[in-house]
């Protein structure tokens, strides 16, 4: 725990001053440091995504698609439509069939 604490930069506040250092350290004497993380790369979009599919990558990585259960053409169309209508995906509704065709190809289910 100490190790983690140090790594995160959770340490004594300089503001507590020398006067209090002899006393047991109360919990609120802990301070909050700077934390920087470097994330592993995002998974790429699967298959051969059409150019309009680059919009998918604005919000999520390709594994959001490949970890879905295999879906029917109708279900993928519904997902793509939801992304546009509810989640603000910046593609035209005319592009939904193109995206759907690609999604069915990479993770489709024949009913």
């Amino acid at each position: 725990m100490q190790h983690i604490g140090n790594r995160l930069g959770y340490r004594l506040a300089s503001s507590i001053g020398c006067v209090f250092l002899a006393l047991p350290i109360p919990a609120f004497a802990l301070a909050f440091g700077a934390v920087t993380v470097k994330l592993p790369p995002a998974a790429e979009l699967p298959g051969q995504p059409p150019s309009v599919a680059q919009a998918c990558g604005i919000c999520h990585s390709g594994d959001y698609i490949t970890t879905q259960p295999p879906l029917t053409q109708q279900q993928w169309k519904s997902v793509a439509t939801t992304m546009v209508n509810r989640y603000g995906c910046p593609i035209s509704t005319q592009d939904i069939p193109i995206i759907t065709k690609w999604l069915v190809k990479v993770n489709g289910k024949n009913r």
């Binding site: 995160l8 994330l39 490949t66 259960p69």
Partner: protein, 413 residues
């Protein structure tokens, strides 16, 4: 080839799990540990259930559900190691792609504004020093935990059962902060926003709201510590809302804004998302339309067997200790029943130490397996107000609220 290797890795982890179960309290070898050194992927019990096992910052090797936004699942073996889920094993779920990768806790502030008399802006250090510290142990569980086990399958984050964790939280009461700002008479809801943001203006920002009564309840905290340490960045450093008993969607991470509203929040994530059928079951039939919906809220009762994995082989001819965890939405676990014969006979499990009504509760039971026999192990938890788990899984199109009695099939050798 790859398939065989994956299978071998899973089998190996099952054997490790079994050994630990038998030793009862021995060290569990996790992904990243020696026992699982070969495993780079784990296969969850669902179609497209392959998950890389990878280390993210401040985390041990966890199951990667998605790399952006980062979503990491805790391997079930972790829950057999102790009642508290370590910070580096705690699941991760972000909604939006724009999550800060650098937070300076000295400069970070939380702003309290809206229908208040005196808007406030506080650093984490000020919160910690100016308000009474409060500590409690509580389960944080994703609304969609176990979504991948729904049948028929539904779209969404395909979690198995590891989108949950139990931590010791330390922070300050939200209501004390609200009272310091002074609520105006017309306040009805409180909205929470974190540093997580959308990548385009038309993408809804992730914000959640609570009714004023809930926001002002005793145990709702602005937490600045988790298991005695600052929160890992991926769990919301430096401040996170803690809403004990309620699903994790309300536990807003990197909390930097609290806005008091004089109307019901109409923003996307409260008014349109995270909603469940407005019936006692929270379920509907596949294809059923126009069912009224309400915001998801309190967690239902669940339990898991943690000492043996599904498909494991267990030693015959001597008593096998089985153990696991149970929890609910804040009433506390009263009983856990255990069956080794698929639910025909039940025995009372022994409950472990009580860490409070919001915590995992450990339990143990034993039975004597006979050589060559197969067993269906079940655990059924009941809370202090008599709520229990379901025997048939509920279904809803968003994959929320699963709490069916889970079955662990084992064979004695």
């Amino acid at each position: 080839m790859k398939r065989d290797k994956d299978k071998e890795a899973v089998d190996q982890s099952r054997r490790a799990l079994l050994r630990t179960g038998a030793l009862f309290g021995g060290l569990m070898l996790l992904g990243g540990g020696a026992g699982n050194a070969l495993a780079t992927t784990v296969r969850l019990p669902m179609a497209n259930g392959e998950r890389p096992l990878a280390r993210y910052p401040q985390k041990r090797a966890l199951l990667v559900l998605t790399s952006r936004p980062v979503q990491l699942e805790t391997p079930m073996a972790v829950f057999n190691q102790g009642v508290i889920t370590p910070n580096d094993a705690f699941f991760v779920r972000w909604h939006l792609a724009n999550v800060p990768t650098r937070i300076d806790g000295r400069r970070f502030t939380i702003r309290i504004h809206g229908r208040v008399k005196q808007p406030l802006e506080l650093t984490p250090a000020q919160l910690a020093s100016d308000f009474e510290p409060v500590e409690l142990t509580a389960v944080c569980q994703c609304s969609g935990n176990s979504r991948g086990l729904f049948e028929p399958r539904v779209a969404g984050g395909q979690w198995a059962n590891g989108a949950m964790g139990n931590a010791h939280w330390k922070g300050v009461r939200l209501r004390e902060v609200l009272d310091k700002a002074g609520l105006r008479a017309d306040a009805v809801q409180v909205r929470f926003n974190g540093a997580e943001g959308p990548t385009l203006p038309q993408i809804p920002d992730f914000m959640k709201s609570l009714d004023l009564d809930m926001a002002r309840s005793e145990d709702v905290l602005i937490a600045y510590a988790m298991n005695g340490a600052p929160l890992p960045l991926l769990n919301g450093y430096p401040l996170r809302l803690v809403v004990p008993g309620w699903y994790a969607t309300y536990w807003v991470k990197m909390l930097d804004e609290i806005e008091v509203l004089n109307h019901a929040d109409q923003s996307f994530w409260t008014a349109k998302a995270y909603r469940v059928p407005a019936n006692a079951c929270g379920c509907l039939k596949p294809g059923e339309k126009n069912v009224p919906l309400v915001p998801i809220s309190r967690m239902n009762v669940r339990s898991f067997i943690t000492s043996v994995a599904d498909g494991a082989q267990i030693p015959a001819g001597r008593k096998l200790e089985v153990r696991g965890i149970a929890f609910d939405g804040g009433f506390g676990i009263k009983r856990v029943l255990f069956s080794s014969d698929g639910g025909r006979h039940w025995l009372e499990a022994r409950l472990g130490k009580d860490h409070g009504k919001y915590s995992f509760r450990e339990w143990q039971a034993s039975f004597r397996p006979h050589k060559g026999q197969s067993y269906s192990l079940l655990a059924l938890a009941i809370n202090t107000i008599g709520e229990s788990q379901r025997f048939t899984p509920r279904w809803n199109p968003t994959g929320y609220l699963r709490n069916v009695v889970e079955t662990v099939k084992v064979s004695a050798v």
